[in-house]
């Protein structure tokens, strides 16, 4: 095909000629580690005793790699590696900036903690049908989504984690799970298809899929280019992944059905990937269009947070309460996206990291509450204070965190976002964020009052639980302690995270560092 003449092509202009430093492999390590461990787990499917340990080793390695990557990114700025030694934009680039690396690290921590919890929560049948391989492959997709610098590749990782999460969702094959999983799968596939359509359109417009290349070209592309259509399509596709109003009903329909660890992983991670993708596309690739859409995004944010928290108030199943709180959190994050200022984006990024930790912790809390108190229903739960003061303390701190009260981590992103809203004169956004926090307090207060303080369930409901003889899940409570410590630490010493979040936000707004990392010459 290319024939002899092509041999004259300067190889240096197409491929990397010199070796790359081995430390650059940190950029892909967060994808490869869970992938290899997932494959290993599949090959030794019947050695179920070892699954948990192997998965934990893999996830520990993942967390280590993520941490090393983040520290390197913070030190040197964005890092990039283009697969197959091709020069960008021809190969697939992985580009780690402060935003992606922070999210990847937080996600890795969440997965690790969940894997510990799963040691007790996932029974033999769950292991036989692949809980741990699903978990590892989901983390492959999650890490890939946070680190890739190529928009089609992002689509691929979306597929990987969506399908893996589907596997986790149906583990157990109960009627409710199948019902929830059907809705989850169909709606998410439609959403992913939208993403694909948008990406095809984008390729047709730009002739490239490399995000740095797109960001570069978007500044100079002709006025006639349909960037606005692309921006709205991405807004919808990722808004749906993030569970933004009005395309968010799949979340409450499905998140309460799987095993609690799976729900914790979903609540912690999945919506945040949607937020990440929104930040990446709308802020970095289409900043002009984002500014035009700002009011729309703002109203979507307000509707998402208010309706989310009202939904939480209307539930009596703890898992459903938390499902709706995930949604209201998404609204809060979208507020930062609507503002688009550095402080606002920084608030969104901090909130996302906080939300990964807190939502996971809350779902796990629901699991431990169920194990001790015998139910997920607030009508039936009672007396947990008497049964475990430790759990009560954790629940209180987590409630403060999700409501955005001191001394937990939720306060600071809220401060940042409100400050950004006040600076931008966006009263309605600031008001909605605070109202959401207030209503969240009420929703969490209800759980605290009913499940923990109350000694016996309401009249007419059979008591399912006796505090004196209740189970005391050591692993569950231990994991919750492990999650609560960073949540409180972030509340008391938020400076490092705020600094990183500011850096990540600045990196999004001023994409030159990102572009330079991919195209070192600055041209290309």
């Amino acid at each position: 095909m290319a024939g002899e003449s092509a041999k004259a092509v300067d190889v240096a202009g197409a491929m990397i000629t010199g070796p790359v430093p081995a430390v650059d492999w940190l950029i892909v390590a967060p994808v490869l580690i869970p992938l290899v461990f997932g494959a290993l787990l599949l090959m030794f499917r019947h050695e179920m005793r070892w699954h948990g340990i192997v998965a934990l080793i893999g996830l520990a390695a993942l967390v280590g790699a993520d941490a090393a990557l983040l520290s390197r990114v913070l030190e040197h700025g964005p890092l990039s590696m283009t697969m197959g030694s091709w020069l960008p934009p021809f190969g697939i680039s992985f580009t780690a900036d402060a935003l992606g690396a922070t999210f990847a690290l937080t996600a890795g921590i969440v997965a690790f903690v969940c894997a510990i919890f799963a040691l007790r929560d996932i029974d033999v049948s769950g292991r036989r049908y692949g809980f741990y391989p699903f978990l590892m492959l989901m983390m492959t997709g999650v890490s890939g989504a946070f680190l890739t610098g190529d928009i089609f590749n992002l689509y691929v990782w979306f597929e990987v984690f969506v399908i893996s999460s589907f596997g986790l969702l149906v583990l157990g094959s109960e009627r409710a799970q199948i019902d929830g999983a059907t809705k989850y799968a169909i709606l998410n596939l439609v959403g992913t298809t939208l993403f694909l359509i948008a990406t095809a359109y984008l390729y047709g417009t730009f002739g490239t899929l490399n995000m740095a290349d797109i960001a570069r070209k978007a500044q100079t592309i002709s006025e006639a280019a349909p960037l606005m259509t692309l921006a709205t399509l991405y807004l919808l596709a990722f808004g749906m992944k993030a569970a933004a109003f009005p395309v968010n009903f799949w979340l409450p329909a499905s998140y309460h059905t799987p095993r609690i660890v799976a729900a914790a992983l979903f609540g912690g991670l999945l919506t945040k990937i949607g937020i990440y993708a929104l930040l990446r596309t709308l802020v970095m690739l289409f900043p002009v269009e984002r500014a035009i859409l700002a009011d729309l995004i703002g109203w979507v944010a307000v509707a998402t947070m208010i309706l989310g928290v009202l939904g939480a108030l209307a539930q009596s199943d703890t898992r459903r309460v938390f499902g709706f709180l995930v949604i209201s959190g998404v609204g809060v994050m979208m507020a930062g996206l609507a503002l688009g200022t550095e402080t606002g984006l920084s608030g969104t990024i901090f909130y996302a990291a906080h939300s990964m930790l807190i939502m996971t912790a809350l779902y796990l809390l629901a699991g431990v509450m169920k194990e001790m108190g015998g139910s997920f229903s607030l009508h039936e739960l009672s007396g947990l204070y008497r049964a475990s003061p430790l759990l009560t303390g954790i629940a209180l701190l987590l409630a403060l965190a999700i409501a955005g009260l001191p001394p937990a981590s939720g306060l600071w992103p809220k401060v940042l976002l409100v400050k950004a809203a006040v600076d931008a004169n966006a009263w309605w956004l600031a008001g909605a964020i605070l109202l959401t926090g207030f209503l969240t307090t009420i929703a969490m207060g209800r759980i605290f009052l009913f499940a923990f303080w109350r000694d016996a369930p309401a009249k007419g409901v059979a008591k399912v639980f006796d505090p004196a003889t209740a189970a005391r899940p050591v692993v569950g409570q231990g994991v919750l302690v492990v999650l609560t410590v960073p949540i409180v630490l972030l509340g008391v010493f938020p400076e490092p995270v705020i600094r990183v979040a500011n850096m990540a936000a600045a990196g999004l707004l001023h994409s030159s560092a990102y572009i330079n990392a991919v195209f070192p010459a600055g041209g290309g």
Partner: protein, 973 residues
């Protein structure tokens, strides 16, 4: 001691103590009290040590870096006013700990109590000495949280739970408002540092955002200090243990609101907005609180309303904007704390000794506990404003201020009358407190004989009452200098001349005091009879309580509205959600497009190839019919879907992509077969009986959905058309791929080189998806039990089996075997052929259409044929493939191949290619990409076979369950 260390210690010590306290044994009352008392005393001593420095320098500061990016430092700053509050907080803390040691019963889990109490003390101290407004808000919120925990201490009691929740909700709203208010102040001033904010008064008052900031900050302070209309949480908080009421809800936490108003007084006050909002809230609280207090039967309820009233007095003084008012306000903060805390403690003792706090049941206690009674009488007198007690002094100052005209308005004119009226009420309820509890007939129906409490339990009251007396008689010599330090730190150069003398001569305020005293006594005499018979709460408006309104609002908002909104907007059904999503997508894509942008004109008829169009028309027809038939004839729909797939396949071939065409074709075949296998187990469609009548609503819904589908599908088509027909961007990666595939990718088949080399990572991801899908199908189907109506053997099979059974020389299954004899043989013999084909496809993939993916599918097709030919059982007995392991191995191989580049210092998935001379085969391309492709092949085969097994296995299981079912029926018969 260094000021830095001292201030940090004051804040940190209580929290450390709190953590320690939590670890003690549940009934360690003594050690808890020693610990907590020690901490409180230490804080008090630290404050005392700081005093000289404060007098000398005005304030001591400690600043350490905390959040430099937000411009927030951990600044502590103690001036005279903060010092005064620190002493109040730690001093009262000490007294309350002492009292609580005797008050708490041995059955109460005290570690928790003292831990919360100490943590509260820390938060409160932090709040008063914060030198940074954001820090102040954080400590402020912490006080609300610990107040919540302390109110709910006896959590088994529903009243305590509700009271705690209400307090948290109300102060929570306030806290949020305060936060925004403070952020606004920061926005105006450019700093959150208290010193800088205090120096920027004019700037703040003249700013556009002054009014919103003021309202939000006042929302915080008025809720915290339980001011009208947010006052109702305080009486409900009385479910807390009495030491908590004495400490938090009279002496310290409720003072936080007025503290902050005084703190920011130089900055915020002096405007009409301030005067109206603060003045109205204060005056209303003063009057309403005092009025309601008269009609309470619960001792603590009376004291709670009285607290609201007195805080209202302080608020009103602050509203005036006159320095003298501020002085009086600060003075009254001290005085109120002193007498009210001692009264609460006395009420607690009465409760403790008699078992009730209901004034209708109490009486004549003077003879049982004369000392306590005397102390309570003195404190009550202070509360009523009787001369020679501290309450009198600040009230005189209040009267003097009320007479003055500050801003001519209704509020100002009515102030003296309201003041006298409220004072009269205060006299009435104080009198009632004393008279009903300590005098009159003996109490009836008490569980035990009341007597004096232990000395140390009474000691805090004695101490405080003594303070009331001493301050009331010789104010200038006792509290004078400290008050002056506090006042100077708030008012600075504006500090007015004021006199703390007991006797100012026959003045108007004195007359007002006298009138109030007399009126109060008369009012009590008039009401006495009524009060002992009535229900709790004031007459006529007993039902109209803010608390009820609040609860109603809360229920409506959080339950009724929330549920109805969820019911209306949320749906748990799939179809509406899909509809919503598709409509949203349509709008999202359409919205930004103005029709001019669509360059549809670029299409010329001459460029259209009729055959190609025909292929597409038939493809579209197939797709539309498939959608149309999906509900009624699944089989037909599936086949039609295959037709649509084929036209895609031909399109690929048309545009010279034989690779894609081949892959598409094989994928179509395999998926159709797998779907057909799955179709067998779907539940039957329920046939409607009777004539079909379609209601108008259904008809409308169908038309609408049809419209949506057409619009959205057409929209995507237009979008695709525009994208494909609009001019190609100058440089695309596609042209580059064509150029470089062979030179650097080492392969002539561009598509394959793109798949395994240029975009190998995508492929890795996609095969992972395939692997996960197969695993999910497997996990799903292993637990799947077919629906009852699809278990039955199909008609054809049943007839064949019946025939076999009827004939003596035939076994069941023979007919099928006969039927399929020829195809089965062909299919079985085809197996090696197909495997060879697959290998060929795999190897040649590098240069010609083929590759790991296609080869894998082809191989999988070979297995499918075996299943069809010989049946599930026969194949499963002979199957040597472990599909899950193949998947795992494939993934591992693909990933490790890519990682091999690490050894050579190249990026992930860098390939190495070379032609190798093999005997007989000739020059064979050998790229590391081939290994990668092998991994892909493993995954594809493993995944497809896994799905096949999972689906095919249903038939054996289905038969088994069918057999069990018929056997059971026969047994029953």
């Amino acid at each position: 001691m260094n000021g830095d260390v001292l201030l940090i210690l004051i804040v940190v010590l209580p929290f450390v103590g709190s953590v320690l306290a939590a670890t003690f044994r549940p009934n360690a009352r003594n050690s808890e009290a020693w610990l907590a008392g020690g901490v409180a005393l230490a804080c008090l001593i630290l404050a005392a040590i700081a005093y000289p420095a404060i007098v000398e320098h005005g304030a001591i500061r400690s600043e350490s870096e905390w959040l430099p990016t937000l411009g927030l430092n951990f600044t502590l700053r103690m001036d005279g006013f903060a010092w005064l509050f620190s002493v109040l907080v730690s001093g009262f803390g000490f007294l309350v700990v002492l009292y609580a040691r005797y008050y708490m019963s041995p059955h109460d889990p005290v570690p928790r109590f003292f831990a919360f109490l100490l943590a509260f003390m820390g938060a409160m101290l932090g709040m008063v000495i914060s030198g940074n407004l954001v820090l102040l808000v954080i400590f402020w919120e912490l006080t609300s949280i610990f107040s919540f925990l302390l109110i709910g201490y006896w959590h088994h009691n529903a009243g305590a739970r509700d009271g705690a929740r209400m307090a948290l909700t109300i102060t929570g709203i306030g806290g949020l408002g305060l936060l925004v208010g403070v952020l606004l102040i920061g926005h105006i001033v450019g700093s959150y540092d208290l010193d800088r904010v205090l120096a920027a008064g004019d700037q703040i008052r003249e700013h556009d955002l002054y009014v919103p900031a003021l309202i939000l900050i006042l929302l915080g302070t008025l809720t915290k200090s339980a001011q009208f209309p947010f006052h109702f949480w305080l009486p409900n908080a009385m479910a807390a243990p009495t030491p908590v009421s004495a400490y938090l809800h009279s002496a310290t936490m409720v003072k936080a609101g007025v503290f902050l108003m005084a703190r920011l007084w130089p900055v915020l006050s002096g405007t009409p907005e301030w005067f109206w909002i603060v003045g109205f809230a204060g005056m209303a609280s003063l009057l309403v609180g005092a009025f309601f207090a008269i009609f309470q039967h619960d001792l603590k309820g009376l004291l709670a309303y009285s607290t609201i009233s007195h805080l209202g007095l302080i608020t009103m003084l602050l509203s005036l904007g006159s320095p003298l008012g501020a002085v009086a306000a600060i003075f009254h903060m001290i005085n109120h704390a002193t007498f009210k805390a001692s009264l609460f403690m006395a009420a607690g003792i009465i409760d403790h000794e008699t078992g009730t706090r209901d004034m209708r049941r109490l009486g004549g206690l003077f003879r049982y506990m004369p000392i306590t009674a005397t102390l309570a009488m003195v404190a009550s007198a202070a509360m009523a404003g009787v001369p020679l007690l501290n309450g009198f002094l600040s009230k005189e100052m209040f009267f003097a201020e009320a007479i003055e005209t500050h801003a001519k308005s209704v509020l100002d004119t009515s102030a003296p009358y309201v003041a006298v009226l409220a004072s009269a009420f205060a006299v009435t309820y104080s009198l009632r407190f004393i008279h009903t509890v300590f005098f009159g007939p003996k109490p009836t129906g008490l569980e035990r004989q009341p007597h004096e409490p232990p000395f140390w339990m009474r000691f805090p009251i004695q101490f405080l009452v003594l303070a009331c007396l001493v301050v009331g008689t010789i104010p200038a010599l006792t509290v004078g200098p400290f008050l002056h330090t506090a006042v100077i730190s708030v008012l600075g150069p504006n500090t007015p001349f004021y006199s703390l003398a007991v006797w100012h001569g026959f003045t108007l305020p004195l007359l007002m005091s006298a009138v109030a005293l007399v009126a109060g006594v008369v009012l009590y005499l008039l009401l006495n009879g009524y009060l002992n018979r009535s229900e709790a709460g004031p007459p006529f408006i007993r039902r109209l309580q803010a608390q009820r309104i609040f609860e109603r609002v809360l229920v409506v908002l959080s339950w009724k509205w929330a549920r109805s909104i969820e019911a209306r907007l949320g749906t748990r059904r799939l179809q509406p959600q899909l509809r919503l999503l598709v409509v949203a997508a349509f709008i999202a894509a359409l919205l930004p497009i103005s029709l001019d942008d669509l360059s549809l004109t670029s299409l010329r008829i001459s460029e259209i190839d009729a055959v190609f169009v025909l292929i597409w028309v038939s493809g579209i027809c197939c797709a539309v019919s498939a959608a149309y038939q999906a509900k009624y004839h699944r089989l037909a729909a599936l086949i039609l879907l295959g037709g649509a797939g084929l036209s895609t396949c031909i399109t690929f071939a048309w545009f010279s992509a034989p690779d894609l065409a081949l892959t598409q074709l094989l994928v179509e075949i395999v998926t159709t077969v797998l779907l057909l296998l799955g179709l067998r187990w779907l539940p039957k469609r329920i046939e409607e009986e009777g004539p079909k009548t379609v209601s108008l609503g259904t008809r409308f819904r169908r038309v609408r959905d049809f419209g949506i589908a057409v619009a959205a599908g057409g929209g995507v088509g237009v979008l695709a058309f525009v994208a494909m027909t609009s001019p190609v961007p100058l440089e695309t990666v596609a042209s580059y791929y064509l150029e470089k595939a062979y030179v650097e990718g080492g392969g002539k088949n561009v598509v394959n080189v793109i798949l395994v080399d240029f975009r190998g990572f995508d492929t890795l991801g996609e095969v992972s998806v395939l692997a996960v899908v197969a695993l999910t199908v497997f996990a799903l189907l292993r637990r799947f039990r077919p629906a009852a109506d699809s278990i039955a053997v199909p008609d054809q099979q049943r007839m064949q089996n019946d025939f076999d059974e009827a004939e003596p020389d035939r076994k069941v299954g023979d007919t099928i075997a006969d039927y399929l004899l020829v195809p089965a043989v062909i299919m079985q013999w085809a197996f090696p052929v197909i495997i060879v084909l697959a290998t060929y496809l795999f190897l040649r993939g590098h240069d010609l259409p083929g590759g790991g993916f296609v080869a894998g599918i082809a191989m999988a097709a070979a297995f499918i044929l075996q299943y069809m030919a010989a049946g599930t059982r026969w194949v499963e007995e002979r199957l040597r493939i472990l599909p899950v392991s193949w998947i795992g191995l494939g993934l591992l191989l693909a990933a490790l191949t890519g990682m091999g580049a690490w050894l050579f210092g190249y990026p992930f998935l860098t390939t190495y290619s070379q032609y190798v001379e093999l005997p007989t085969v000739g020059a064979t391309p050998l790229a590391t990409a081939l290994l990668f492709d092998l991994g892909v092949l493993g995954i594809v085969v493993g995944a497809t076979v896994l799905m096949l097994i999972a689906l095919a296995h249903q038939s054996t299981r289905g038969l088994r369950s069918a057999r069990v079912a018929t056997e059971a029926e026969q047994e029953e018969a």
